[in-house]
Amino acid sequence: MSEPVMESPLIGRPHSIQGQPADGQSAAQSGVSLGERPFLGHFSLRGKADDEALMAACSRVFGIALPKTPNTWVEGEGVVIGWMGPTEWLVLVAAETRHEWLISLREALADQHAGVVDLSGGQTLITLAGEHARDVLAKGSTLDLHPREAQAGFCTRSTLAKSAIFLRVVEAGERFEIVVRRSFADYLWQWLVDASEEYGCEILPADATLALSASADNDFDEAVNAS
């Protein structure tokens, strides 16, 4: 039997695979770049923030404490963790580390009052960056993403156009990540391309790696020292 093949939910949108700028625009002219990071590990982690044993177990496995401040994300070694709600976190890891993470997470939390649900096949991540990225989001979101209001480290569940999303501010005002449910991805992608077009939109090649900030190591060290 051949090796199983994975397909991104954007399979019907060839731009995302081939990396062509939309409609003949060159990358230099574009005010927005759009891309997909397919096949990442997406895990929903459920538990209680006041459960100290759970928090300690999480810190051990992630090397960083779960964010308890609403609407913030943190970054550990090879992992991004976003606060989704009082009892829920979204854990993002690179595609090739997905299975190891899932195993080690389930092992680490086996005795805890917690649950890990694998959502890797049910979601994908869309990147949106550039001078006009914020304008594109403003067309379908009532969030105020001005750098003054939403700094790097901000994340939220929200809606964009008519789709539920998880939004992460990677770089204030400039770089955003949108996690969307698989079945809405095709709609949301078309919406984003349409909303971006007036600014010139570059479509980046699909990239199955996790976006980590350059300063991740420092944060990681501090977190370990702190815990």
């Binding site: 929903s44 067309k139 979101s141 008519k162």
Partner: protein, 1002 residues
């Protein structure tokens, strides 16, 4: 030169370039910077329309949003726009505009001769009988009234919405607005400044470039350019021109519409035509300015009669004079400025007619110095002329009456000013009432709305110096209220205003005849409402301004009474013998000026109207000829016709192959929820009618969910993954509702329970393999699950790999056949699907869609919640007592199942129906009766919920809800059809095929 009324100099137009445009089929020239109105005036076009009722010739009256007459159809084809105000339509090369009115001889202008027979309420009084005829009358009336046309072609343009947030929103970019924006921005606030015009500057753009109009010692245009450049350089300032703040809503939510395409003729490549801005502002400064009111006198609608400020605007902003011999008619000082503008442009001002005696003040003195005759204490009685004003009749006043002394002055232009009406619309949109000010003779904004303030002439300050100072101060205050420290600075300075003389309110010029006999004195030009109509409404008993508005149509038009309403209300007050304050205004509602449907729709149109949710196998379905059906937001394959097949032929083939060999359905859209937590058992026991806590890990159980009223709202299968760990399925359309239901009960009623819900609908691609050969198909793909009949029992599941992909396989059946549902990570969905198709090929496997799914499940009497149930059926009604745990002490809806009405007889019950003629398929939704000959209203005993033709059974069949149906087996019911035919059917049990359940038991 064709531009007969273009001045040789002045105005902000680009004289070096010429634009060609077409109006009613004739070609004209204008310049960049012109509006359609200024270009028509430049070409000496005086008659631009006919009035609504009397078909009187009409000309351009105003220069902005208040224009009532120059309402045109602009553009052609898919992008044609009706009801465009020529005064706000920017000229571009190739512009095509038209009016549906006849500008030459209009046979319907005879209406004018019979005007006395067409009073207020004429339509109500005349076309009242018979009531059913109104649609026909309306069609005729509309046809003659010349209302514009909507495009009938699909709109090819793009529209969008933009949400914006700011600390200070300034509405209006005149002197006060610019000063306010500049101050707020310099304090560090995020500022949005909007103006409906193509350029900022407001009244400064139309003022004479004279030292008494200068700001900070600079010319108007210099100061504007400098201030705008300074604002534009600040990073957190957004400047929006051609953008109308059309609505002010609660909590400082303001709607703006930006024109990004109309002014160009078509939007830029990849651009949008209109953008709807939804602004949330911490503070709002309303610097919306004021509109001039005309004076009301006889035949005041003759082309060439305009507001004085419009005349000034045409001269100073566009370099156009609307006439060559003017009479200025006023009750206040500002029109003297217009006289000076005309004079400076070299236009003969025949007279200034002022209702005030001995006008004093600086402007009057300047007019005297220019040797322009002033007729003080006088009024215009009426205008003369047909297609253009030729002269005016002037009379001397004694109080409000004429002395009898009358004379005539010839002219081709009348510039009239009855004072200024602040644009209080936005202030009033959220319910605030305007307040009448006797001194200024106008309505002013009442107390500030929370988080909002007003600045400039909207507050009744009509001189530049005051407006600048107020804008400066209100900008600082708004920034401070938004949390910013104002910087040091002084207000922009303008020369002190000279001596002024107060306005004399003057609402209706006397004509020397009874109001209904004299020449028509128009109040609302667009609706042909005259002072006599208002008087008539009062005589007929109307007192409330809101009723008079509706009876006379005052303020009904696209201009919403911007020009005429205050005059109308004042005339009403005088007729009623009340004060204007007592009479009040009608309600100001959004939108300030009309906004397009496109802007409202934004991007929510066409393929983006609503999300089309797709499964991981969608592209495969599309490539294999599936026709899709919308199920909720999902696109589900409906059926897969092969070459030349009819729908029924496809369904017959799909059904037959599935029942005899194997068939595959994409069941990924079913809602799936993972439930875990120490109290998961307890929680689900309360949610489902059946027990969950006694389930064994690895097993599945069908379940019903009821609302509190005991009625079924969703169903599905629960699989027990481990201790207090479950996997639920829901209906496709009900998934979100079930998720919300679980969360609502957890969060509001049982927050102490330790239970978590996670939607995993999208995580799993679900491939349902049905049919006698399904076991062989699975065995070919899977070597780590034992598919033996007893080892892998019905209603259990196994974990393993299918086609090399980790999978959870359920042995459950929605067809009654031996069946397996394979769940894999959706990223692998299409890969496994293709593997299943390949493995099934030796058995002739078919793919089938929702329609075959429905036939197969209905043959087995399996319900679809939401199709066979409609929120009014209990489990007992559906014959599903077996799904209700008899030993359970509580679940949602349980108590309701014991209500007297629920246990009483006479409820509709779920049954099967066999049409007497097996070739006839009952329409779904059809009502059932016992006696089709019964007199109307015929008693109805039930309805059809599902109905199909079955190739397996060889005839049609249906599922239905029939009163006491479960005890009426074998009886006949009838379904009368709209075409008069009657379909007879026999009541049967709902299971038509394999009643013993033998087929899945293999």
């Amino acid at each position: 030169m064709s531009q007969t009324h273009r001045l040789s100099q002045g105005g902000g137009i680009d004289r070096a370039r010429e634009l060609t445009f077409t109006f009613n089929g004739r070609r004209y020239q204008g310049h960049p910077g012109d509006t359609l109105a200024s270009a028509l005036l430049a070409n000496g076009v005086s008659v631009i329309g006919r009035s609504f009722k009397y078909h009187r010739p009409r000309g351009i009256v105003g220069a902005g949003p208040e224009e009532p007459n120059a309402i045109f159809q602009v553009g052609t084809g898919a992008t044609t726009r009706p009801d465009q105000r020529a005064t706000q339509v920017e000229l571009f090369d190739g512009l095509v505009a038209s009016t549906s009115a006849r500008l030459g001889f209009d046979p319907l202008s005879v209406n004018n001769m019979f005007a006395r027979m067409l009073p207020a309420g004429f339509y109500y009084k005349t076309f009242k009988w018979p009531a059913t005829y109104w649609p026909r009358y309306e069609e005729k009336i509309r046809a003659v009234a010349g209302i514009g046309e909507s495009p009938i072609e699909p709109d090819a343009d793009r529209y969008d919405h933009m949400n914006a947030h700011c600390d200070v929103l300034v509405v209006g970019g005149g002197p006060a607005g610019l000063a306010a924006a500049q101050r707020a921005a310099s304090a560090g606030a995020r500022v949005i400044l909007v103006d409906e015009n193509p350029a900022f500057g407001g009244s400064l753009l139309s003022g004479r470039d004279a030292p008494d109009n200068h700001v900070d010692g600079r010319s108007n245009r210099d100061w504007i350019a400098n201030t705008v450049a300074e604002l534009a350089a600040m990073p957190d300032v957004r400047l929006l021109t051609r953008t109308t703040a059309f609505g002010n809503y609660d909590h400082n939510f303001i709607g703006l519409m930006e024109d990004r395409g109309d002014y160009l003729g078509q939007p830029a490549a990849h651009g949008v035509r209109h953008r709807l801005w939804r602004v949330r502002a911490r503070q709002v400064v309303l610097a919306t300015g004021a509109l001039e009111r005309p004076l009301v006198f006889g035949n005041n609608d003759r082309p060439g009669v305009m507001t004085a400020s419009a005349v000034s605007i045409y001269i100073n902003r566009y370099g156009v004079t609307p006439g060559y011999r003017a009479v200025v008619f006023t009750n206040n000082d500002s029109a003297y400025g217009t006289a000076l503008d005309l004079h400076a442009a070299g236009i003969d001002v025949a007279a200034v007619v002022d209702v005030r005696r001995r006008p004093s003040g600086a402007l009057a003195a300047a007019v005297r110095a220019a040797k322009i005759p002033i007729h003080d204490g006088c009024t215009l009685i009426k205008a003369r002329g047909g297609r253009r004003v030729r002269s005016v009749e002037i009379g001397r006043l004694s109080g409000e009456q004429l002395t009898g002394d009358r004379w005539k002055i010839s002219c081709d232009l009348v510039a009239s000013s009855g004072g200024w009406s602040p644009v209080v619309h936005l202030h009033c949109h959220i319910g605030s009432k305007p307040v009448w000010d006797d001194q200024a003779a106008c309505f002013l904004p009442g107390a500030d709305n929370p988080g909002q303030t007003s600045a400039g002439s909207v507050t009744g300050h009509f001189n530049l110096r005051d407006c600048l100072a107020q804008g400066f101060e209100r900008g600082d205050a708004a920034a401070a209220a938004a949390g910013f420290e104002p910087t040091a600075g002084t207000a922009p300075s303008a020369p002190a205003a000279g001596e002024t003389m107060p306005i004399r309110p003057f609402w209706l010029a006397p004509s020397g005849a009874p109001i209904s006999r004299g020449p028509k004195q128009f109040v609302d030009f667009q609706n042909d409402t005259s002072a006599a109509d208002i008087a008539l409404a009062v005589r007929e008993g109307y007192e409330s301004v809101e009723h008079v508005k509706r009876y006379t149509a005052l303020g009904f038009g696209t201009d919403q009474g911007k020009l005429g309403n205050i005059n109308g209300m004042a005339i009403l007050a005088a007729t009623l013998g009340k004060s204007i304050a007592e009479t009040g205004t009608t309600t100001f509602r959004p939108a300030y000026t009309p906004i397009s449907f496109g802007a409202l729709a934004g991007r929510n149109a066409g393929h983006l109207f609503d999300p089309e949710r797709k499964t991981a196998m969608h592209e495969w379905h599309a490539a294999h000829g599936a026709l899709f059906e919308n199920v909720g937001q999902w696109k589900r394959p409906w059926y897969y016709p092969k070459d030349g097949e009819s729908m029924q032929e496809s369904l017959d083939r799909e059904c037959q192959t599935t029942r005899t060999a194997a068939g595959v359905l994409d069941a990924s859209t079913l809602g799936k929820i993972e439930v875990h937590g120490a109290d998961a058992d307890r929680f689900l026991d309360l949610i489902y009618t059946g027990a969950r806590r006694n389930m064994k890990t690895g097993t599945c159980r069908y379940g019903l969910m009821l609302h509190e009223d005991g009625m079924i709202f969703d169903d599905g299968v629960t699989a027990k993954l481990g201790d207090n760990h479950y996997f639920l399925t829901t209906t496709t359309g009900g998934a979100a509702g079930v998720m919300n239901w679980l969360e609502a009960w957890h969060q509001t009623e049982w927050p102490d329970m330790d239970v978590f819900f996670t939607s995993i609908t999208d995580q799993w691609a679900t491939i349902a393999v049905n049919g006698p050969k399904s076991r062989e198909v699975l065995q070919a793909l899977c070597n780590d699950i034992d598919f033996d009949r007893d080892a892998f029992a019905f209603m259990t599941f196994r974990e393993g790999t299918v086609a090399g992909v980790a999978a959870r396989v359920f042995r459950i059946s929605f067809t009654g056949e031996l069946a397996f549902e394979i769940n894999v990570d959706a990223n692998h969905g299409r890969y496994v699907w293709e593997a299943v198709m390949a493995a099934g090929a030796p058995y002739g496997i078919t793919v089938y869609g929702t329609e075959t799914m429905h036939i197969l499940r209905a043959e087995k009497g399996f319900i679809v919640a939401g199709q066979d149930t409609d929120g009014s059926m209990t489990p007992m009604d559906m014959g599903m007592q077996w799904a209700v745990g008899k030993k359970k002490t509580d679940f949602i809806g349980m108590r309701s199942l014991a209500r007297p009405d629920i246990v009483a007889s006479g409820r509709k019950q779920f049954v099967g129906l066999l049409p007497t003629d097996g070739t006839v398929v009952l329409p779904e939704g059809a009502q059932l009766v016992d006696d089709p000959q019964a007199p109307l209203p015929m008693p109805m005993v039930g309805h059809v919920s599902s109905s199909y033709h079955s190739v397996t059974l060889g005839h049609s069949f249906a599922l239905a809800l029939v009163k006491d149906g479960q005890s009426r087996m074998g009886e006949t019911v009838y379904s009368p059809q709209p075409d008069g035919s009657v379909i007879a059917a026999t009541i049967a049990g709902p299971v038509f095929y394999d009643r013993e359940g033998a087929r899945q038991n293999v």
